[in-house]
């Protein structure tokens, strides 16, 4: 175990000293850091949690605290832990790939899509995210008939994302009026992470 004395050191010095000690371990082991205030304990704990180190702290006396980090061999090689927390909304994803709903008559398709999005705003259980791509990208832009409803969904906490490549393709890059611009990497990640994908 390496001992670090960071008594009297203002943040971020205790963290810097501890990081240097962890480097010295060259693999697994323990580092014990002494600090004089609870905020420093919290900042050290925050680092340990982010890095996936084991961490325990205790108050030794007034103005004296001990933080012990345990670094495993594998962890020292910058391993990160994946934690999955199920979303309360069940992580439902809606993908809208066209400005029309269904095939047949496009005028009807456009009206159906507008009605579908309005109907969504009235649902009790909302999707966590709606992704707009290809022709669907037009719906989140200026002059879209569904714009107000999409804004209302966003205001209710639904994440609204539009494919950036698609906006470029249709010359709509500066016309996006709701939500954020996304990329194919994020779209693929959202789809893989969804518990249910709905495509109207």
């Amino acid at each position: 175990m390496i001992k670090v004395n960071a008594m009297g050191d203002p943040c971020p010095i205790p963290v810097v000293k501890t990081k240097n000690a962890i480097k010295e371990l060259k693999g697994g082991g323990q580092v014990e850091t002494l600090v004089d205030n609870e905020i420093a304990v919290q900042n050290l704990t925050k680092m340990a949690n982010q890095k996936g180190y084991g961490v325990a702290s205790e108050k030794i006396s007034e103005g004296s605290y001990k933080v012990v980090m345990t670094i495993g061999e594998a962890v020292a090689e910058e391993k990160t832990e994946e934690v999955c927390i199920p979303d309360s909304r069940g992580n439902k994803l809606i993908v809208i790939s066209s400005s029309y709903m269904g095939t047949g008559d496009d005028e009807l398709g456009a009206a159906l899509m507008k009605a579908f999005i309005f109907a969504l705003t009235q649902q009790e259980e909302l999707p966590s995210t709606i992704i707009f791509y290809n022709g669907g990208a037009k719906l989140t832009c200026e002059d879209s008939a569904a714009l107000e409803d999409i804004k209302s969904l966003e205001a209710q906490g639904v994440e609204i994302m539009t494919c950036g490549t698609c906006l470029n393709h249709y010359g709509l890059s500066d016309k996006l009026k709701v939500g954020s611009v996304t990329n194919m990497y994020a779209i693929a990640e959202k789809m893989l992470g969804a518990s249910l994908i709905i495509k109207p």
Binding site: C11, V16, A155
Partner: protein, 343 residues
């Protein structure tokens, strides 16, 4: 000048007492007798006090001072002054007079103090105010700031809690100056990032405030020691909630790398302790969380106004080279007070 300013425990607004501790003490103070002319006092947690002296004029009073966060005394003077003057702009006022507040060790080179005060006085002049005097105290550490008086039309005061559901939020400066200054203190910040932080901290909020006046601003505050989320929490006033769009947050790009290396302030952690329970982060990186909690010195204005006006206002600000962005939206009160949407 060879002497560098001695650092204390992290300068600028990172040296402030935590909001949590402060609220507990303020709540226990006896209430001052009611005076209908005191339009804004500390019970509203606003940026400055406003006292009406006629139907057309109220005076705005504020003070702020802190230890250095940069090595150069002249630059420190400019930053401390820009920070103190900012509260007048956050209330919608104009700067009129300022007084120096100085703590300085007796045995230190007085030329350093001269440089600090030169920086401060230049900023007061730039603000259109008059530096009219001051007080100095012998102390173990350097501290500097201003007491500032401005005026405002009582009907045009920007309170920090006047936001309305549906308003969008505009931030006029980049976040991350606290993290960059902290990284600089341990020799990790690049010259470019530090120059960007200094440029931001020495910029008066006067210019953003002048543009604001053309629009229907519902609420305004400046982002300082409590970080964006701390000041936002006060703006929500227990009656509103909001979304923050992390992908739209302007920040000094290098701050992200330093946050990932845990070069963080104690004040940032205190902000997390104070307001963290009211915040839910959705797909937000650790570094962005830290940037949102980062205490700012001489930070930008945070403004709530209707969306159609905000778009025009931001465009006007961007045309004047300000890094202003729409960063969120106010909603009716919900279970989660501040929902941060991922990058």
């Amino acid at each position: 000048m060879t002497d560098k300013i001695e650092f204390c425990k992290g300068g600028g607004c990172t040296a402030k007492l935590g909001a949590g501790v402060l609220s507990r003490i303020l709540e226990k103070l006896p209430k001052a007798p009611y005076d209908k002319n005191l339009l804004v006092g500390y019970d509203s947690r606003d940026d400055a006090a406003v006292y009406k002296i006629s139907e057309d004029i109220a005076f705005v009073q504020t003070l702020d001072f802190f230890p250095p966060m940069v090595d150069d005394p002249y630059t420190f003077g400019k930053i401390a002054a820009a920070n103190a003057l900012s509260d007048i702009y956050a209330m919608g006022g104009q700067v009129k007079t300022a007084l120096n507040i100085v703590c300085f060790p007796e045995n230190m080179d007085m030329n350093i103090l001269g440089e600090i005060m030169r920086g401060g006085s230049e900023k007061v002049t730039e603000a259109g105010g008059i530096l009219a005097g001051g007080h100095s105290i012998a102390d173990s550490d350097v501290k500097y700031g201003l007491s500032v008086t401005g005026i405002v039309q009582p009907s045009k005061i920007y309170k920090n809690n006047g936001g309305q559901s549906g308003d969008v939020l505009v931030l006029t400066k980049k976040l991350g100056v606290g993290i960059v200054c902290t990284a600089n203190r341990v020799g990790e910040a690049s010259e470019e990032a530090m120059a960007e932080a200094i440029e931001s901290m020495t910029t008066l909020n006067k210019y953003a405030a002048e543009i604001c006046r053309k629009y229907n601003v519902h609420a305004c505050t400046d982002v300082t020691g409590f970080g964006l989320l701390g000041h936002l929490h006060e703006m929500l006033d227990n009656r509103l909630s909001c979304y923050v769009y992390a992908h739209n947050i302007p920040y000094i790009s290098e701050a992200r790398a330093h946050a990932d290396e845990f070069l963080l302030t104690a004040a940032g952690q205190r902000n997390r302790n104070f307001v963290g329970d009211n915040v839910y982060f959705e797909n937000t990186s650790f570094a962005m969380e830290e940037i949102l909690f980062d205490p700012q010195t001489s930070g930008g204005l945070l403004i709530a106004l209707p969306e159609n006006e905000a778009e025009k206002m931001v465009k006007e600000m961007i045309d004047k080279n300000m890094p202003a962005r729409i960063i969120g939206r106010l909603t009716d009160k919900k279970d989660i007070e501040i929902l941060v949407k991922g990058e």
